[in-house]
């Protein structure tokens, strides 16, 4: 060690003993090999810092160095092996062994705790791994329930019963269908996440179904019975006289089945549509319809 001990510690030549100790502690806290078990460079740096401190921490030695009577070499403390060399060695169990750093990992599944937990290496008996799948299904399959045959990662087929009213992201558990156990341990479970594909007509909010339904001008003005698609088939619905675009009608109990046996509702939002082609009779009628010219649907919208 031939470097100037003052520059090693980063202090000035006239630094007080107090400043030298502070500078040393600051560096030592960062560089002590036992606080840096994975850092080989820290040990070299720590040695240099310690040697510099050894020299400068004793006022007598420091004064002799300042007068040039001794040089900075040969001051290294012969250092024993660090604690990390024992604790980090290949040796198995020692009195200071701690598995507290991952004792909570057992919540995530038994893999970690059985592999690395206290004393867990003896005659390893391990539950199989849980396996996760994603199963995309059609909108109506989710509403009405379905049974799907899927192939697991080990190649075996299994029937997955999707309950009526399944939600997007819902996870079904197939007990014992995960990875095989080790050493006579039980198998893990298979977890199947349901992914619901969108439907061209229906949308779903919770247990309710929403549908936008076109109605003719005649049906809207005069009212009447019309057919409405629902997830369980077509039903007949009464459109009240004078219905408008945006009118929402409720079909009670035509929504998504709940686990308690009841069902949500279906909401039907009407949209009044004119005939595809211009109709001369309709034009003639609207021409002669005086109230239509007085009706201003944009009243109050002036910006």
């Amino acid at each position: 060690m031939n470097e100037d001990p003052y520059s090693v510690l980063g202090v000035k030549k006239d630094a007080s003993q107090d400043d030298i100790q502070k500078a040393y502690r600051k560096l030592a806290k960062k560089l002590h090999p036992d606080l840096n078990p994975g850092n080989k460079k820290a040990e070299e740096q720590f040695k240099a810092v310690s040697a510099a401190y050894d020299l400068l921490s004793e006022p007598e030695k420091r004064a002799r160095f300042d007068r040039g009577e001794i040089d900075a070499s040969g001051q290294e403390r012969p250092r024993q092996r660090y604690y990390r060399d024992f604790a980090g060695g290949a040796a198995g169990h020692h009195p200071y062994t701690s598995s507290e750093g991952f004792s909570d990992f057992s919540d995530e599944g038994d893999l970690f705790s059985s592999l690395f937990g206290r004393g867990g290496r003896m005659n390893l008996k391990m539950r199989g791994q849980d396996v996760h799948y994603r199963l995309p299904i059609a909108f109506l399959e989710a509403v009405n329930g379905t049974t799907r045959r899927v192939t697991l990662s080990d190649g075996s087929p299994v029937d997955v019963a999707v309950p009526p009213g399944a939600r997007d992201g819902q996870v079904l558990r197939l007990a014992g269908k995960g990875g095989a156990g080790i050493g006579g341990g039980p198998p893990g479970d298979a977890f199947i996440e349901i992914i619901i594909n969108p439907h061209p007509l229906f949308t779903r909010k919770g247990d309710d179904i929403y549908l936008e339904l076109p109605v003719s001008l005649t049906e809207a003005v005069l009212g009447g019975k019309i057919s409405v698609p629902t997830p369980t088939g077509t039903v007949s619905m009464n459109v009240p006289k004078g219905s408008n675009t945006g009118t929402v009608l409720r079909l009670r109990g035509k929504g998504v089945p709940r686990s308690n046996g009841t069902r949500g509702d279906q909401y039907v939002k009407l949209r009044v549509v004119l005939p595809d082609k211009p109709d001369p009779d309709l034009e003639k009628f609207v021409q002669s319809w005086a109230a239509g010219k007085a009706h201003d649907p944009r009243r109050g919208m002036e910006a």
Binding site: H32, Y53, Q80, Y82, F86, H94, Y96, T97, G101
Partner: protein, 116 residues
């Protein structure tokens, strides 16, 4: 193995200091009919405690916390090393799958100015 007298001589510390560290659980020597028996590992650990106390200015409470964290860290490092070794002997495609899965768990860093 060293008995407490040899240990005291090696460490150049008073016997009651060593006994206090044992009582605190900072040192865990083996106990035999002849009394306490210390290993080389106990010596290095005692030197660490001395470093913390004398050179780094750590107080009693701080030493207990640091020792506990160091023990946890060595447990984690050992486990991580075992896991790396176990993964290292698996087929190459399995290793790649494990690495890819680990990478996919890391959050994607956001671009843009750092928050102050």
């Amino acid at each position: 193995m060293l008995d407490i007298h040899e240990f005291v001589l090696r460490m150049r510390l008073a016997q009651d200091v060593i006994e206090a560290w044992v009582a605190e659980g900072w040192l865990r020597p083996q106990r035999s009919d002849q009394g306490l028996a210390f290993t080389e590992m106990d010596i290095s650990r005692a030197q660490l405690i001395r470093d913390l106390r004398e050179d780094l200015g750590v107080n009693e409470e701080g030493i207990a916390i640091i020792l506990d964290l160091i023990d946890q860290m060595h447990g984690l490092r050992k486990t991580l090393r075992e896991l790396c070794e176990a993964v290292g002997i698996q087929p190459a495609d399995l290793q790649q799958r494990i690495l890819a899965d680990m990478r996919s768990r890391r959050p994607i860093p956001m671009k843009g100015p750092e928050a102050p």
